[in-house]
Structures are given as C-alpha cells and as structure tokens.
C-alpha cells in the first residue's frame, strides 16, 4: 500500500481551504447544488504520481510570468473585471495602442443576448431594457441573462464543442443531459469534469457518456483529455513521438495507463446497453512492437504535464488500490446484466472476456477505479494550471473573438499567451470562485474589453488593437445562435399564422408494403412507418408538391396513406437542409429500424402496392430551436452549413466563412422566407394597414431584426422598398428578408 506523505496532505488541504475562502467571498446568486449533485469524495484520489521532468521548465512564459503582487481574490465578478481591464490597459499602453470607445446600450443588449442567451433580443426585451435606469441596466441585464434558461442552453452549446458531443454517438444524448443539468444547477466546473472522468456503471449515470464516446477506445483518451481539458496537443504522440512538440509516445501511454482498468462492455439483448466496469488486470500495454502486440508490457500511470507548487511526491507511483464503495443500484444492475446469457448477448467480447466479466462482476463491479480517480484529481487539482487556463481561455475566446493563447488548444512554450498576466488573473479568479462558470462569464462580460466597439481600417491596421483586446474584432454569430436568431426575429418558434391559413395540397406516391392476407392480422400489431429499406433516404423534400406538380416522392409504408400522412407531411414540406431531426425523432428512428429488421424476416409474405395520394395539409411553419435538435446536424443541414462542427475529431474549428450551399439556403430556403413573411399572430400584423405610413412597421422590423431603429436614410430606403412591394404585407416581407440576409444580422455589433 502506498503511503501518503503528511506534508503533501497539508498542501492539498491548504489549497482546498483557499478555494473555499474564495467562493465564500464571491457573491453567489445561484443556490448551492442540491444533494443529488453533491461532490464526489475526492479524498481517496489524492495525486500520488510523479510528474515527468518537463523539457520546457526553463523560461516558459506560461509559468514564469511573476505577478507584481500576490493574488488576492476579488470580492465579486465586477471587481474582478476591473482588475482584468487594468491588466489589458497596462498592456495596451505599453504597446501604445489606443482603446476604442465602448458600445452603446442597444449594441450591448444585442451582443450580450447573443453571447449569453444564444440569440438576439426580441423587440419587447429591447423596450424593457431601455426602460431601466441607464446606470444599472447593463449590470441588471447580465444578471437576468445569467439566471435564464437560455443561458443554460447557450453554455451547453459551448460545452458541446469541448466535450465533442454527438447525439448520434454512443452516450451522446446522456452526456448532453449531464452537461445541461450541471450548468442549470451551477455544478462547479472541476466537479463536472471529475464526474465524467470517474463515471462507472451504466448510462443511468449520464456522465458516463464521456468515456464511451470515442469507440469506446481508452487509448484515445489521453489525446482527448489533454487537448480538450488542458489545451495541449499531444494526440500525435499516440502513434509516434510528437514531431514539433516535446511529447513522446511513452508519455502518451503513461497517461493512457490511468484508464488501464477501464473496461467497457456491451450487451445487445434484450436491449442495447453499455456499461463500464473495473478490469481485473491492466488492458493497456506498451512496448517496442505495439503494432503486432508482441513484447509489450504493462505501463504504469504517470502524469506528463508540468505542475506548479513545490514538493512533488517522490516515488511511489500509485499501485492500484481497491476502494470498495457502497453497493449502489448501479452495481446491482450490472451484476444482474452480467449474470444473463452473456455468450450471445454481448457484442465485441471474446469468450474469455465474457468469462472474466462473469467472474469479476460480483467482486469488481462495486469497486471504484482508483487510477481514474487519481487522474481526475490530478487534472482538476490546484497544481495543474492548465486546467483553469484552458477553460478561461476558451470562454474568453468565445466571447471576445480570440484566445489569449491562440489557437485555444495549443498551450506550449513556443506559443506564448498574448497577455500572460491577464490569463493568470482570469484563472486565479475562476479557481478562487470555486470553479464557478457563471462567475467566470459574469467576470468576462463585465469587462470594458468585452464592451469595446469595432474600429475602422484594414485587417492589418486593426489587428494589434483587436489582439490586445482594446477593440472588438468582426465576429459572426455561431451557427446555433444565428439559427435561433432567425427563429426569434421571424417569430417562428410558435405558429404565427391562424390555423387553416396555410393549406397546401401535397401529392406523393406511396409504396405500401403489405403482408399477404394470411398474415394481415399479425401485421396490424406492428405500428411504425418506415422511411426506407436502406440508409438512402426514400422520403424526399417536395416543395413543388405543394403546388400539385412533381410529387415523385416514394414512401414505403405498412399502412394506408392516410395513416402515415400526418407523420410525413412535415417531412415533405421541409427542404433537406432545413429538415429538423429532434432528439426524440432519433430514438423513434432507431425503434423503427429495429422493427424493420424484424419485419424483413417475413419478406416472403409481403407485396408492394403503389398509389398516388393527394392530401391537403396546414403547413403553418414553426421551427425547433437549435438546442432541441440533434447535434451535430446532418452534413448539409443549415446548422452545419453555418459552421457547426462534426465533433468527430480533435482540433476542429468552427468555420465562420461562407459557402455556396449556405448562401443558397439563406437566399431561397424556407426558414428565412417564412421568417420574413408576416403572420397574423405577430405584433407586426397590427401595422399592416396600407393606408397608413409605413414608418412604424419599418421601425418595428429594424427593432426585431437589428435591435435598433433605422437611421433616417435607412428609413427612406426601406419605405421605397416597402412601397414597391405593392401591398404592405409583401413590402414588409421584402424588407425583413433583406434585413435577415444582410451582414448586420449575422455579425455581432
């Protein structure tokens, strides 16, 4: 048994006290996490492994920028923001860069709503904001947005990228739920990450989604953890020593060794289930002949990254300790699973592993995984500066356009931070707040740096000031924010037309798949329409079908056309790039596929009957917000065209550049055009009287789309456009189409 050195213990206790003291002084507008989210016991996971001597120990600007005076936590986020501004202005003065003026209130409202609520403000929110006293309205808005449900969704989207959440991947939905719940309940960030790293059992613990997302492949974990949680690229070192950086393959495997007892099992019957248990022997090996599996050995966990603070605990790389934890529902559940008919039911396991599982199930399922607990403690512990640097830098980059270290996932001595003191101050305040993400966001948006305006000039002229954070860069809304803003500006979240106002005729061909009469009764119990017999989609968009033309859509169905009609009408009237696949739809789809597999067994008894069907449908448009859709969306979906990443690989960036397909969808797609069209149930409807001047309607269109009123020149141009429309309704639709497609809509003020 390894023994902990008393001195090291003290150090940790001291660090813990510091955190507690910090959070006690920070104002906490949010209730402490409820008991269900109580912190995991960290005591058993004290780091005891020896870090590698790091090549960059000498003269690393990340570590060796001594602050002028020792850090003292600020009393609140606004005070912390002033400290950050002081560091920014000092740096700018040194570089002789003049700060740009702060933006006005309306621009601030729009910028902050996009960054904190993930969408532009409504006209009503604008009115309410402007009705507040001028001195306090900005601070109050920050508070209001931080407490809103939209903020939870917005920060979830931010974490979608960091955690590379894929709804269609194993555990993706669960992980997303975990993140959303963590943010809603303001779980400290370090605790959130610890739970993901130490999760075990089944997806009943949704944090488990993180471990099983990549394959699951525990050998991929060092790359994921280092890049996403620490901002260090060591992924190349999985296969070879890193070509430009100092990471070796051995270091990669030493980090992987923290997962050497993490075993993932699948069960396919009666239902697909995946669970993680503690292996009875190390499953990660390392040696000269990695690829043919010969002459490899076990490798012990070793922390490869530089730590701060004194006294690393020499010697005694941790031997795995078996830490019994109390029997939980999860443990019993796995034991029950493992006792089942494993030979047929478990996929991807050879017989030996199944036997192992059966043998180990009772003994090991209730054991925690001490190596992973150690890793979680190392990663989130106070001596690992990368942990806080990474998250504050990512959020700073998200809200100010570029990271203090940029690219955000490339912390190394050769890529120094632009303003080391700023990075350290952000990290210190964040850690002192108790890893409080809302505190971090409030601190960032309360800075003057966040509220600077853009400056004119060529990109080269602007660059120095933008990089010193004394001028705002040109920043396009993220895909989800742009998508949700189109829905907000166009009143598309709820139907905005009266029922029956959008009746269209839809014509399509149904190929019914019927069982021959003798089996008819059996078939009637099955209840799912299926779209296709393969993975080529057979239901296709048919915009022109609504006018009665075309209509070659083929639907394979077990039921009569009338029965499936309700389900397919929405599909038929949504062009492919705007088709919405919600989380619930995906589960439905999976159920349908398994139904189909069953049904194929009676293929001999089916016949196909084609029929052309015309139905009338109300296509009153409404759109789900991005947070309600699968993520990432299908490859040609508008969200993806706007830059939503695939999240399948490490190092993906959000692409804010335009592409032809994106432009086509915004020009001709259903969403923007429906957003432009005026509905009878939205405020604009009251201003549709052709006999009155158009000014009021034009002002409302600007307020809804741009969160401001038009200039006199803009109003005149708009009036001409509206007049040319023939009638007020069409004219305003034309104006709104222009406003939604123009640069000002998609770029932040």
């Amino acid at each position: 048994m390894p023994r902990l050195r008393p001195r090291f213990w003290l150090l940790n206790v001291a660090a813990l006290l510091l955190c507690t003291a910090g959070s006690a002084t920070a104002p906490r507008a949010w209730a402490a996490p409820p008991p269900t989210m109580a912190p995991t016991p960290a005591s058993s996971a004290t780091p005891t492994t020896k870090p590698y001597a790091h090549a960059a120990d000498e003269g690393d600007p990340l570590f060796d920028t001594a602050p002028a005076e020792p850090f003292k936590p600020s009393a609140n986020a606004r005070e912390a923001a002033r400290a950050l501004d002081a560091l920014i202005l000092a740096d700018a003065a040194r570089r002789k860069l003049e700060p740009a003026p702060l933006i006005g209130d309306e621009a601030f409202l729009r910028r902050l709503s996009i960054d904190l609520a993930g969408r532009i403000p409504t006209a009503r929110e604008r009115r309410e904001f402007l009705a507040e006293p001028a001195e306090t309205r900005r601070a109050k808005l920050v508070q209001r947005l931080l407490a809103s449900g939209r903020f939870v969704q917005r920060l979830t989207t931010f974490f979608d990228d960091i955690l590379r959440i894929r709804s269609r991947g194993e555990g993706g939905d669960s992980l997303r739920q975990f993140v959303t719940a963590s943010i809603r309940e303001n779980l400290p960030y370090d605790e959130m990450i610890r739970r993901m790293l130490t999760a075990r059992g089944t997806l009943n613990d949704p944090a488990m989604g993180f471990l099983i997302a990549d394959g699951p492949n525990m050998l991929a974990m060092p790359g994921v953890i280092s890049q996403q949680f620490l901002g260090i690229r060591m992924n190349c070192a999985q296969c070879h020593d890193h070509p430009f950086d100092s990471w070796t393959q051995k270091q990669y495997y030493s980090l992987a060794a923290y997962f050497q007892r993490t075993n993932v099992y699948y069960r396919v019957k009666p239902a697909h289930q995946v669970f993680v248990a503690y292996a009875d022997r190390p499953i990660i090996r390392y040696g000269k002949s990695l690829h043919d599996g010969s002459s490899t050995n076990g490798i012990s966990p070793q922390w490869p990254f530089r730590l701060v603070g004194s006294d690393d605990p020499r010697g005694n790389a941790a031997a795995p300790r078996r830490v019994p934890v109390s029997k939980t529902a999860t443990g019993d559940e796995i034991a029950a699973l493992a006792a089942g008919p494993a030979e047929r039911g478990m996929r991807g396991l050879d017989a030996g592993m199944v036997d192992d599982l059966k043998k180990q199930a009772k003994a090991d399922i209730d054991l925690a995984d001490p190596e992973r607990q150690q890793l979680a403690a190392m990663i989130t512990g106070p001596r690992n500066r990368y942990f806080a640097w990474n998250i504050v830098n990512r959020l700073w980059a998200d809200m100010l356009g570029t990271g203090i270290v940029s690219p955000i996932d490339d912390f190394r001595s050769g890529n120094p931070p632009r303003n080391p003191a700023l990075l350290n101050r952000l990290a210190d305040e964040f850690v002192a707040s108790g890893h409080d993400l809302r505190f971090l966001v409030e601190m960032i948006v309360s800075t003057e740096a966040y509220q600077r305006s853009r400056v004119a000039g060529s990109p080269e002229d602007r660059r120095d000031r933008e990089r010193a954070y004394v001028a705002a860069p040109l920043r396009r809304m993220g895909a989800e924010a742009l998508y949700d803003s189109l829905i907000t500006a166009g009143h598309l979240e709820q139907p905005k037309h009266r029922p029956g106002a959008n009746m269209v005729e839809v014509t399509y061909t149904v190929e019914e798949r019927r069982l021959r009469p003798s089996k008819m009764e059996a078939a009637s119990e099955e209840s799912a329409m299926q779209a296709s017999a393969g993975n080529a989609p057979a239901t296709q968009p048919a915009m022109e079908a609504s006018t009665g033309g075309g209509g070659q859509t083929r639907v394979i169905s077990d039921y009569s056309a009338e029965d499936v009609d309700a389900q397919i009408a929405s599909v038929l009237t949504s062009p492919s790039s705007e088709k919405m696949v919600g989380m619930a739809d995906m589960k439905e789809q999976a159920a349908q596929e398994s139904q189909m597999m069953k049904r194929m067994q009676s293929e001999e008894n089916v016949e196909y009957v084609s029929r052309r069907v015309t139905v009338t449908r109300d296509v009153n448009p409404s759109f789900h917000l991005a947070s309600e859709l699968e993520t990432p969306a299908q490859s040609d979906h508008v969200l993806r065209l706007l830059g939503q990443p695939t999240r399948a690989t490490l190092g993906e960036k959000r692409d804010a550049t335009a592409n032809i397909r994106q432009s086509l969808v915004l020009l001709n797609g259903k969403m923007v055009n429906e957003a432009a069209r005026v509905g009878e149930l939205e405020p604009m409807d009251a201003l549709m009287d052709d006999r009155k001047p158009a000014d009021e309607a034009i002002d409302l269109a600007y307020a809804e789309a741009y969160s401001r009123l038009p200039t006199a020149k803009e109003r005149a141009a708009a009036a001409a456009l509206v007049a040319a429309g023939g009638n007020r309704r069409d004219g305003i639709a034309d104006l709104r189409w222009v406003l939604l497609n123009a640069m000002e809509f998609r770029y932040l003020p």
Partner: protein, 421 residues
C-alpha cells in the same frame, strides 16, 4: 480564422504545371486537365461511383458459385464478355459486360457497416483522431471543375465529410433525383422582379456595413452570394431536368430513385462535373437474401446496364470511369433465415470506361467465395487505380489543419493490369 488558413499547403506537380502553363502558355484549365500528368497521361476525366450500401452479396450477383453448397437460389447467366458469367438477376448488366472489367478479388477488412463504408470510401480505417475525405472529395480537390456546377455530387445517400480538403470539396447532396432542388430556385411566391428588388436592397444594405473596414470574411460572404446567384442562373442546371430525356431513355434507366440517380449522374458528367456518387440501399440481407436481392435488382440492374450502354453509345465511356463499390460481401454460408451475413473477406467490383480494359476478368475468389484466390485487390489499390486513370498521384500528401501530412490514398498501388495497354 479565414478559410485560407485551413487549406493544405502542398503543391503537386500538377499545381505547378497548372500555374506555370496558365501564365506562360495561356491554356485554359480544361486543356490542362486533358494534359494532366505528362508522365502518366490521364485516361479518364470523370468518375461515377455506384455505392451499394448495406453490403451486397457477391455470390448472388457478380461472383456466382454454381454447383457449390454456397450457390444459393440464382443460376449464372452468360454475359456479352466471353468466359464471364454473372447471376441471373443481372441480365442488363450482363449485356454490357463487354465494356467492363469485373474484379472478383476485392479484399476488405472491416465487417461493421459504418467502419466498412468509411474504409471502402476513404481507404483509411476509422480512428477517433481524424476524419478522412472520400474518393469524391479527393477528386474534387485535385481536378478543376469543368462547369459551374458543384464538382462532387452525391445522389441518394450522403458521402463522408471532405474534412481537411476543405468546404469546396464537400459533396453536393441531391436527395431526390428528378425533382428540382428547392435551393436552386427562388422561394415559392417570389417572382423574378420581386427577387431583383430584394437583391438590390440587400447589396445596398451590405455596402453600408463596416464600409471603412475591408475584411476577407465579408468579401468571402459577398463572393459566396454572388456564386450562389450565378449557379441559380447557370444553364448547366438543366442537367437536373430529367424530363428533357426521351421517354425511352428514362424507361431504360428505370422508374426508381436509383435509376433516376444514374440518369442524373450521366447528365451531370455530360456538363463537366468530375465526380458523381450514386447510392443504392437495402443490401443488408441478413434474412430473405434471395427475395430481397431479386426485388432490389429490378432497380439497380437496368439502371447500371443503361448507364454503361448509354455512355458507350455516345462515346463518353472512353473518358468516364464507372465503378461499383460495396461495404463488403456476404457470407458464403446461408443462415437459418435464408440470409447471408457480413463478409469482408472477399467481394466484387465492376469497373467500366476511362481506360479500363473491356470484357475483362481480374482476380478471383476461392471455390466458395470466401477469400481471394488470385490477384487480391485492396480498397486502397482500387482507389489508387482510379487516381491513376485520372492522372492523380495517389501518394500525394496534403496537410491537415494540425499540419499532419496525409496521403490522398492510404498505401495504395494502382493495378495497372486493369488498364488497356
């Protein structure tokens, strides 16, 4: 981050040739593409990839095993190429065999759908580290477009991401061949005059935005809108109007989504599109393999037969390479549900045109269609052969955004025997 920063940084001989020639000889890109790779003249300019999603049984289609217990329900039939027989469910393909080379020794390794599809389409094995682009993106990256249509079109099924080759090499997805793409037309209820007014006002609004601050992002957005409008008005869009084809032609391809897809592929190639992928699904026949295949063949057999025949008749087959790929083959053993299961060990691929030998058989599987017997061809070799036909160097490397060098094809060697001497 601008798009340029993501672009791979290497230059091929062709890039240099193109740049130099365009400067000094004044040749058009079209001319240059015809000359591409002087040491290895291209024999093809276009590719049509037919993708059998789900994994098509090789024994019941291209590699019959008459007289063996594994033979299944279908009898072999003669084809127009002497000595080559295929399954009775492929009568129309059989008629065109004189134009084609049949490879019966494709050696796969991946037995799960997603992984196998990834491997067959990209030549790389899936890894969590990186996404590899598929053959269509590689071709779109290497060959300049011959028209203002997208250079890589995927019909009826999606293609993998273009990943590090960039947005411009992404497949343009056509879900419903034969139906107009709603995004290429003005929205419903918006007539041309009204659209003109909107676009004029849009241009004016954008002029006023950040006018003192030229920016590559804004310029890119404007350029993209302009390109979109050009595409909407391009005469080449007529390619999508299948109704322009004589009824007899449409009938020959078949009244099915896949048939229309093949016809659209031909029309796109006619106008200069480099790479078209047409997907057919439903081949995952774990049960009722024979009745399912027979039904599916009513769609894919006439379509493929018509496509080869059509291109041969017009002479376009000389410069267009058609190939079929499947995720894997299916087991020789017939299971209890009259189905066959996944079998990556050996399967078949049909190639025609673009310099490929005609009426030719390459490689074989063993007696029961279980393993390659002669001349195994890996998916990488097959991709390398397609590159060879197009004059693309399969070993050319491009760099990922993290500056990792990647070969266009993973360790493939062109199979020169496939080509005419």
């Amino acid at each position: 981050m601008t798009h340029a920063a993501h672009r791979p940084l290497t230059f091929s001989r062709r890039d240099i040739l193109r740049a130099g020639a365009a400067t000094f000889l004044g040749l058009s890109l079209q001319d240059l593409v015809a000359f591409a790779g002087t040491d290895r003249p291209a024999t093809a300019d276009h590719v049509i990839l037919i993708w059998f999603s789900g994994g098509m049984s090789h024994i019941d289609t291209f590699d019959p095993k008459p007289g063996r217990p594994v033979a299944g329900e279908f009898a072999p039939i003669k084809t127009s190429a002497s000595g080559i027989e295929v399954s009775e469910i492929l009568p129309r393909v059989a008629e065109q065999m004189k134009h084609a080379t049949l490879i019966r020794s494709i050696a796969g390794v991946e037995g799960a759908h997603d992984r196998a599809a990834y491997h067959l389409l990209t030549t790389y094995r899936p890894t969590p580290q990186i996404i590899h682009p598929s053959l269509g993106s590689v071709v779109a990256h290497e060959l300049a477009p011959g028209c203002d249509l997208p250079n890589f079109v995927a019909i009826g099924g999606r293609a993998p991401e273009a990943s590090y080759l960039g947005n411009a090499c992404e497949a343009y997805y056509v879900g419903a061949p034969g139906q107009p793409d709603p995004y290429l037309r003005l929205p419903q209820g918006v007539a041309e005059g009204r659209a003109q007014r909107r676009l004029a006002a849009l241009a004016e609004a954008n002029d006023g935005f950040a006018s003192g601050s030229p920016d590559p992002q804004l310029a890119g957005t404007t350029a993209s809108y302009d390109a979109a409008l050009r595409l909407m008005r391009s005469p080449a869009l007529a390619a999508f109007k299948l109704e322009e084809e004589p009824a007899a032609v449409r009938e020959a391809y078949g009244d099915s989504s896949f048939g229309r897809g093949c016809l659209l592929a031909r029309r796109l190639i006619d106008r200069g599109v480099r790479f078209v992928q047409v997907s057919a699904g439903g081949f995952d026949t774990h049960s009722n393999n024979f009745s399912s295949l027979r039904r599916l063949s009513h769609d894919f057999d006439p379509a493929i037969g018509a496509l080869i025949g059509d291109l041969a008749a017009s002479g376009k087959l000389d410069r267009t390479l058609i190939l079929t790929l499947s995720e894997f083959g299916r087991t020789p053993r017939i299971n209890g549900d009259a189905g066959r299961d996944h079998h990556p060990g050996v399967f078949s691929s049909l190639l025609a045109g673009g310099g490929i030998r005609r009426g030719n058989l390459h490689g074989s599987s063993d007696a029961d269609g279980s393993k390659p017997a002669e001349k195994p061809v890996t998916p990488s070799d097959l991709h390398a052969s397609v590159c060879h036909a197009l004059g693309i160097d399969p070993e050319k490397t491009v760099q990922t955004p993290l500056r990792r060098p990647m070969q266009l094809v993973d360790k493939g060697t062109p199979v020169t025997e496939l080509f005419k001497a």
